[in-house]
Subunit: 312 residues, 3 copies
């Protein structure tokens, strides 16, 4: 078991030992979530500031609850109505938050590299909760946790990631984590959204959804972010669904034990048929549960906690 | 004393014993509010998510503080900037929140029946914090608590509810609670807002405010929601005030010990004269205090607490 | 040591003994901020409501964290989506919040005198977190704390406040605190923003920045609030910077141990050069840290705490 890091900035710089340490620790925290009292005193008297410059209810709530269950004092700082609107630089905002004796700053930002930038001058620990199209490390960790829990291992599995790879920090972090842990990763989606250059990260790239899913042990669907302005990347939502949506017909051509994952929120009828989202092979809601455990583990380890001490 | 329910969805399905159990338990919690340390450990390590899809600062704060005083971990989820805006269904949102090991989901929603809907598929306990024009059960419980505390009983009292009955979940829940507890309920307001069909719920309906208030022990005024588009239901605010507003002159024609209630926020000079709102017979602020006690009692009972253990 | 006040409404009505009591108590709380567990149980089971009718992320977060570190139950009530928007009066809103057994109401309001107004009818303690152009007492206390900590004393020091004095509650509260504690206060800025009438408060007024800074031990820069509509008070931001901005050239003409203060958020390149903001003589971030300690001290003293008991 190895963890000596002050920050969690990305998956790219972690090695397999470190990834496994987080996953092992998260397993202990998942058990905490089933207790009558779902709380440990590990971060009591520590201050965590959730600096969400880009809105994200889902990820923020998962972090906030993880922090509460670790007994930390929690402050939510969102971009709306904040000093960032008054023209303050991100650096000044972060240093002002740190000056409140913050121990952790969990940052979500639309600019790739924002967490790394903060880590260069802050004494507080920085946790990346998603930066631009760069990385979303806790999402990759919870995905890896879910795969390992369900399949008993990650090495040797065929994992297909389907959708908008180009703009997806979830895809990037997943590719790093899964290849480090020994999985065979296939990327698929519209050619405008899945450039061949991803092969350099050790993945197979294919534009045939049938090819992508037929041998997959895991099919990880990305959200089509139709509320953003990406319509130019493919003709229409219907076109996307017809070419890449996970339908009952396509599902029938997957391995019988292939699992369906999705980082949420799902678009029923777009990237996934409604009945597939709710079927037994979908582990989408378990991903949510595991996200909480993984985030508790990350904060706990950065705080110097030892995995064997989780129960305390 | 009887309480075996997992949810609080409405008043309609409760019986008088259950109502009285909540009121008795709330009495113990009201005492907690006067202690130096206004806190009990009953819900320590439990997670409560306040899912407020329809905005409501007042009710949300009352629930949030009730939850804090029970030592729960609390997450506020509001519709703004949430995944509901990204097209996620309410069902998916609720199941995602539950996947965070939530023990309670307190829901406020503009659609009647939303809490019942959630209760059909969630394992978490659902508490209705107001659903459309259907019910607002904790408001009715705090109103009943206030009446019982002030008058020593509810059975046999004459309670008049005055205002927009048709669109009011407060009125509906109050009618259920008060008739079950043996009060004589009179409804009064503009005929467009008080249809005769309410007589089937066991109430008297009258369009004469003088008739409605002269024998009343309790006059419960509803808020005229002039910020919503209801102007078509009566000619003008002035017209409403002149016909149904509780003025000094009308107050003089009530029983000398008749009490004035209002769920707030009040419109001074519209449904109630400013001096009446502040007079000794107004118990409007005590309703607010009692609301906190009633909400603590509801969460405590659903969590399996026994009334005699409140003091712990 | 003397503190018998129920509210903190302004600096004007405090005497030097009271000011020093807050500063001495804050020193003990600053030490709490460096502990492994930055938390004391002093306000456990007490309820603090942050009533921020005028938006302020920075001050609200400082108060919220101070309250959490004192173990209070905390409710944030902001003007957005609140009953104040439904036409409720401030008095009714405050009385409704108090009816939740609130022990403290921390109020930020755009109207001068709002905290005094509340204190006249509330039983809860009222803490002024900034009211219009009137006072911002905790800012003045943290500024005084910072000066005393850095210089070992306040009496006899030359303190220059530079900027928009006329509309600044920070300036007003600072003038009261510093003159009571024996400092020599100089005010400087555009003549439209620094009326001569301030001399009646015991200050020197000058329109020459060179004159204002040459003997200063402390230079406290106010924020130019260019996002508000004050452009008419001086021709342009460039004009302001050129006439009153703290540049390297001007800095070279100050005393070698003169310290630079700023309530934040700073406008780099407007009222202060970027390199000056980051130089060793800038104590801007320490002000933020001290703000937390001062706010803990204020709440602690109002709650009846004795300075010698902080460690508990």
């Amino acid at each position: 078991m190895a963890w000596n890091r002050k920050h969690l900035l990305d998956i790219e710089s972690l090695d397999a030992d470190e990834l496994n340490t987080v996953l092992d620790t998260a397993r202990a925290f998942k058990a905490v979530g089933t207790r009558a009292i779902k709380k440990v005193p590990a971060l009591r008297g520590k201050t965590v500031i959730n600096l969400f410059v880009e809105p994200s209810t889902r990820t923020r709530i998962s972090f906030e609850l993880a922090e509460q269950r670790l007994s930390a004092d929690v402050i939510n700082f969102t971009a709306e109505a904040s000093s960032l609107k008054k023209g303050e630089t991100l650096k000044d905002t972060a240093r002002n938050l740190e000056a409140l004796n913050a121990d952790f700053i969990v940052i979500r930002h639309s600019a790739s590299g924002a967490p790394h930038f903060l880590s260069r001058f802050l004494n507080a620990s920085v946790v990346n909760a998603g930066d631009g199209a760069h990385e979303h490390p806790t999402q990759a960790l919870l995905d890896a946790f879910t795969i390992r829990e369900k399949k008993g291992r990650i090495a040797g599995l065929n994992v297909t990631i389907l959708g908008d790879i180009l703009y997806s920090r979830v895809a990037r972090s997943n590719i790093w984590a899964l290849t480090k842990l020994g999985a065979n990763v296939t990327l698929c989606g519209p050619s405008t959204l899945v450039p061949k250059v991803f092969e350099k990260m050790g993945c197979r790239v294919t534009y045939s959804v049938e090819e992508a899913i037929k041998d997959a042990d895991i099919i990880n669907l990305l959200r089509i972010q139709h509320e953003r302005q990406r319509q130019t990347m493919f003709p229409s939502l219907n076109e996307y669904t017809s070419l890449f949506g996970l339908t009952r017909a396509r599902m029938d051509r997957t391995k019988p034990d292939a699992l369906i994952m999705h980082p949420g929120p799902i678009n029923r009828g777009v990237e996934i048929d409604s009945e597939i989202a709710d079927c037994k092979r979908s582990v989408i809601l378990e991903q949510v549960t595991n996200g909480l455990a993984v985030r508790m583990a990350v904060l706990f380890l950065i705080n110097g906690g030892k995995p064997q001490e989780v129960a305390a």
